[in-house]
């Protein structure tokens, strides 16, 4: 997963291979597939163009997701104001409805149903809380790296994770009850 500053060969393929994960995070974060597609392209292009400055001791995936989150944050700041936007530190209410991506066709009926419930529950989390879970799940980031990415204290990130996981668990349980 690591690439040195001059290791351009294969980096292009590696970035393309990671696009579905980055897109998975972005589409659940910004809630608009067409915007998420633009952002994932910009993320990978920026990563590729600045690969010369990338240091092998870092983790490529974490670096990539950091770029993605920064771009998403910029997009949130630039877009026409909507109520309940929390990614840039706004209110912690639920965000705008998130367009849930379809579950893969091979997931099975139960799997698709459960995934749809979880998508709906995720959409009801505040954006900062949702971002913590998304970084944990899609970027496999340890919480201290998530804190670095979101520029929040570790304790705040852990509190967000705890609140989000409990709410997610409650919402999904209610759906199944």
């Amino acid at each position: 997963m690591n690439a040195g500053p001059r290791d351009f060969d294969g980096l292009q393929d590696e970035l393309v291979a990671m696009a579905p994960r980055v897109y998975g995070l972005l589409v659940r974060l910004v809630g608009r597939p067409e915007v998420a597609e633009d952002l994932v392209q910009e993320t990978l292009l920026r990563a590729f163009r600045s690969a010369g400055t990338y240091r092998p001791e870092g983790k490529l995936r974490a670096w990539l997701f950091r770029i993605a989150v920064n771009l998403a944050r910029d997009w949130v700041r630039r877009r026409p104001r909507e109520p309940s936007v929390g990614l840039d530190g706004g209110p912690d209410g639920t965000g705008p409805p998130v367009a849930a991506p379809e579950a893969p066709p091979d997931a099975g009926l139960l799997g698709r149903e459960r995934a749809a419930h979880v998508e709906a529950a995720m959409a009801r989390l505040s954006e900062p809380d949702r971002l913590v879970l998304l970084l944990r799940y899609y970027a496999d980031m340890p919480f201290k790296d998530i804190a670095r990415t979101t520029r929040e204290p570790l304790g705040t990130v852990l509190a967000r994770a705890h609140r989000a996981l409990r709410k997610l668990e409650n919402l999904v349980s209610e759906e199944h009850a």
Partner: protein
């Protein structure tokens, strides 16, 4: 019974990020605290729910194709070497031109006027040949600036974001820039050499 830990401790434990020492302490507490066992179980159920989401969400085919195309364009414009070497390659020709100008001036210094009778404006006005060289240096600097900005679209500035023009051939560098530069450098070399 030991004091109940902070709830965020259960997040770290469930995520496998507790230190071994902390984990042992938490597990010891769990043996004697049903409330914390339930807390940990709920956090684990939340993580398990998260795992129902597909790890990968494919881009639409046209978006994936656009991504590959844009990466290919970026690859065609990327510098072939590391960042430091790339900078040297990118701006080395500018440095070489500046060095040439400097060398021309140093090789042909104009003798200082006699100190006993300095002209009234000696402090601010260069001798005529020196002023001509200075004018030409100013012109060269302007020409270099034009070339540097034109060089971005000519692949010389590949380190920055390449203009994504849909894979079309980059705009060619205007010939007049190089011709002007050569003419100016010739002037400095010949004029500077003849002003002793």
């Amino acid at each position: 019974m030991t004091r109940c830990p902070d709830k965020t401790d259960w997040v770290l434990l469930a995520a496998g990020e507790s230190s071994p020492r902390r984990r042992r302490a938490l597990e010891t507490h769990l043996v004697e605290c049903a409330a914390c066992r339930e807390e940990l179980a709920a956090v684990r159920r939340g993580l398990a729910a998260l795992a129902a989401l597909p790890r990968e969400t494919p881009l639409r085919p046209q978006a994936a194709e656009a991504l590959r195309r844009r990466l290919a364009v970026a690859a065609a414009h990327r510098p072939a070497r590391g960042p430091v070497v790339g900078l040297v390659v990118r701006y080395g020709w500018l440095a070489a031109a500046a060095a040439l100008v400097l060398a021309a001036l140093l090789w042909n210094p104009r003798p200082e006027p006699p100190p006993a009778a300095p002209p009234p404006t000696a402090a601010v006005a260069l001798p005529s040949s020196g002023a001509a060289v200075a004018d030409k240096i100013t012109e060269i600097a302007a020409a270099l600036e034009i070339l540097a900005s034109a060089g971005v679209s000519n692949g010389r500035g590949a380190g920055g974001p390449a203009p994504d023009n849909g894979g079309r051939t980059p705009r060619p560098l205007p010939h007049t820039g190089f011709e002007e530069l050569e003419r100016l450098l010739d002037f400095v070399a010949t004029e500077g050499g003849g002003q002793s």
